[in-house]
């Protein structure tokens, strides 16, 4: 199909109709997930295998091979759906491809061993939406990501793409759009949860001819990857949101700031911009409305602090990414001292939905103070890891146990960490907490960008606190004293405790540093850095005390406080002797337990990992 510049909403609808007409709904297709998780599972080879097999069998006219964006169920990759019946296969390997093509695509059969099986009940599920992982979700933002080819604007148009833009440009005044977004109750998905409509309004009202809009895709929170998936899987939805926002604010220039660690996101966003420009949906005189808006992509350099808005803007100006004190908001003076509106990827992606379906509909989802859905990355010690999109207000228990399928290996749940490095650890007794911005803050954690890291009995909470403080110490830009020194000193104290050299007074000292940092740091990185320490001290104080008083690590993680020992049952199979990098293990006699020399042992755990008979015991 030849794509021409569109000069009116009518042109857009004509094109949409032409795209629909060109597609036979009964055409057979194989839809393979090309998200990062599935790619790591080898989905690119699976795609190639499907193309080759279909060519070999001579079905190229009948069957189409499509690569979609992320579907969230990364644990089970590679994910494949056979259309039009929507049969959902998981953990597909190259060797399964011929069977799928012959039996399922052409033959219409269902291949049982590739279906999802519920681990407990062994029940089989044929369709994606029946699988318990998906059944409790409300996939508004992620729905299209698993359906469309992210590199094809036609696909996006086919699923009603850019209808919200046409509606906004031709049916709504900028002020009306802002009112609609305000009424929807949408709050920023990047972490702080600032009301989006209010931010837009203050940028619109700020004096100045040149204004900027920025999409923050510098997703630095370890454990969070929803922005990556959206940008990779459905970049046009974000662009559409940005164009609508720019029109409402009165901006003609925008930036997408992406982490360089996300090469596919950079690639797909670049393609999306080019495709939208070619159709006149972006650039000068958008859809013939006279409105101009240009978007550039800027890549980050691997600094966590650049997710902070003022640091991000400094980086966009080609400078070192340091934050500034915000006596004056970015909406007044941001990028190059001009009014700037920055929103996170997921926030932008919500905009077309609100314009299309209305503020009332959006506000009907969620809780009193938090509307709509939120995408969480459910990772760590949980069965079904991946991205889950749920309505605000769902409980942690529903997310972790109903959607996530609980904790693997019959281990006991210990805590869930939300909000990234500066979030907090939430204990088991609070699992029935409804998840929204305000409730998470109330219990000493935060929404952050939506990382949800599940921990079990094998995780040491002091070690986790130390991990986060180490991370924040490295990422502190060093501009203000409380953050630069506070993180360092906290890290030293936590190291002391995990080495068994801590004292009870260290706990008071930690709390004192935490309070000072929260009160006096320049930006939110420093001000929220105490969260992991404060929340673990609040809910897991007994673990700190065990390290200090008993010199024991209850989870057997902290190296200085554990020893590896060989059980009497050891039959001298020799695996650990071979694995030990420092020759600390020596065999004595045939079928007699080997001997581990504690003075040589570096506690690397290699023996523990290789032993198949559980004869290495950690004490």
């Amino acid at each position: 199909m030849i794509l021409k510049k569109l000069n009116s909403p009518q042109d857009l609808e004509k094109l949409r109709a032409a795209i629909a007409g060109g597609r036979k709904t009964d055409k057979l297709s194989v839809n393979i997930c090309g998200g990062t998780g599935c790619t790591a599972h080898g989905s690119a080879d699976v795609v190639k295998a499907f193309q080759e097999e279909i060519t070999r069998q001579g079905f190229t006219d009948k069957v189409e091979v499509k690569v979609s964006g992320c579907r969230g169920f990364c644990e089970r990759g590679t994910l494949v759906t056979v259309e039009p019946r929507g049969v959902f296969y998981q953990r597909v390997k190259v060797k399964d491809v011929p069977e799928i093509v012959v039996k399922s695509v052409i033959g219409g059969e269902i291949i049982d061993h590739l279906l999802y099986k519920e681990p407990q009940t062994r029940q089989h599920f044929v369709h994606e939406n029946e699988v318990p992982f998906y059944a409790k979700q409300m996939r508004l933002l992620m729905a299209n990501s698993g359906r469309i080819d992210p590199t094809s604007i036609e696909d996006y148009l086919h699923y009603d793409g850019y209808t919200a833009l046409a509606k906004a440009l031709y049916g709504m005044k900028p002020e009306a759009i802002i009112e609609e977004v305000k009424a929807s109750g949408l709050r920023g998905r990047g972490g702080a949860g600032f009301p989006t409509g209010r931010k837009w309004e203050s940028t619109r009202k700020a004096p100045g001819d040149i204004k900027y809009v920025i999409c923050n895709c510098d997703e630095g929170d370890p454990g969070a990857f929803m922005d990556r998936s959206l940008m990779e899987g459905n970049p046009h939805s974000i662009l559409e949101g940005m164009i609508i926002g720019a029109y409402a604010i009165g901006s003609s220039e925008g930036y997408i700031y992406v982490r360089n660690e996300y090469p596919l996101a950079v690639e797909n966003a670049t393609k999306a911009i080019k495709a939208a420009e070619a159709l006149g949906l972006l650039g000068d005189n958008i859809l013939g409305s006279g409105f101009n808006f240009h978007v550039k992509i800027n890549r980050g350099g691997g600094a966590f602090v650049c997710g902070e808005s003022s640091a991000l803007m400094a980086s966009l100006e080609g400078k070192v990414g340091e934050p500034r004190a915000k006596y004056i908001r970015s909406s007044e003076k941001g990028l190059w001292d001009r009014p700037t509106n920055l929103n996170n990827v997921e926030t932008w992606a919500n905009v077309p939905l609100i314009i299309n379906k209305g503020a009332k509909w959006f506000a009907s989802i969620g809780t009193k103070g938090s509307k709509g859905t939120k995408i969480f990355s459910l990772v760590g010690k949980v069965h079904n890891t991946g991205l889950v999109e749920v309505p605000m207000g769902i409980t942690l228990r529903e997310i972790i146990f109903d959607i996530g399928g609980g904790i693997p290996g019959n281990k006991k749940f210990k805590a869930v960490q939300t909000g990234g490095p500066s979030g907090g650890c939430i204990p088991e007794k609070m699992l029935d907490l409804p998840v929204d911005f305000d409730e998470l803050t109330r219990v000493g954690s935060m929404m952050g960008s939506g990382a949800m890291i599940v921990m079990d009995e094998d995780n040491c909470m002091v070690d986790i606190a130390k991990y986060f403080i180490h991370f924040l110490m490295g990422e502190s830009c060093g501009k203000c004293v409380p953050c630069r020194e506070g993180n360092k000193r906290m890290y030293e104290i936590l190291c002391r405790i995990t080495e068994g050299k801590g004292e009870m007074s260290d706990l008071d000292l930690l709390e004192e540093i935490c309070a000072t940092m929260a009160d006096t740091s320049l930006c939110q990185l420093g001000a929220s850095a105490p969260n992991p320490v404060m929340s673990s001290l609040m809910y897991f104080r007994d673990e700190y005390i065990a390290h200090i008083k008993d010199k024991k690590c209850p989870a057997k993680v902290c190296k200085s406080l554990i020893t590896y020992n060989i059980s009497e049952k050891c039959p001298n199979c020799g695996l650990c002797v071979k694995a030990c990098p420092v020759q600390a293990i020596t065999p004595i006699a045939k079928k007699q337990p080997v001997v581990l020399d504690q003075s040589k042992c570096i506690k690397c755990g290699s023996c523990y990992d290789v032993c198949k008979l559980n004869c290495v015991i950690v004490k």
């Binding site: 599972h41 990364c74 080609g318 400078k319 890891t385």
Partner: protein, 156 residues
């Protein structure tokens, strides 16, 4: 092989042209420069400062602020170990220690014969598959300590 000044200039020219000589794109320009030269050599940065009409101090401050940049030569194969939270709780630290031991280098360093460079990254955003090691851009998920040696061997 040492590059002549002219060769450096030609390559930088192409990079600057790609970004329309817009100095606000400095981070991206440096990324492309690093990709082109393998790292950020001193003489290249001096040349860049002159060509882009930027103070060398600004280029240096940006090049040392961001983790992605290296001012020393890098190995043939780039190993990135994800130290994100999801990988951490599943034992990334121990995977890293085995790599450090095998190559006898610390993160930020390259081995003697410049075969491998080792770096840690905060999160690669494939958290469902932790612990993750990325070699030359290819993701290896669910890494176990005993899989490190075979993985390194396969690149030798």
């Amino acid at each position: 092989m040492k590059l002549t000044r002219k060769q450096i200039k030609t390559r930088l020219d192409a990079i600057l042209a790609k970004y329309n000589h817009d100095n606000a794109m400095l981070v991206s320009i440096l990324q492309d420069t690093q990709k082109e030269f393998g790292y950020l050599p001193k003489e290249v940065l001096s040349e860049l400062a002159e060509m882009a009409r930027l103070p060398l101090t600004q280029i240096y401050s940006v090049a040392t602020f961001f983790k992605a940049f290296s001012l020393v030569p890098r190995g043939k194969h780039q190993i990135h170990v994800c130290m994100g939270t999801a990988c951490h709780v599943r034992g990334a630290e121990r995977v890293l220690q085995v790599i450090e031991r095998e190559l006898d280098i610390q993160p930020g360093q390259s081995d003697k014969d410049l075969q491998f460079s080792l770096d840690t990254v905060n999160c690669v955003g494939a958290c469902a598959l932790g612990p993750i090691v990325v070699v030359d851009g290819a993701y290896k998920g669910n890494m176990k300590t005993e899989q490190v040696k075979p993985l390194l061997e396969s690149y030798k």
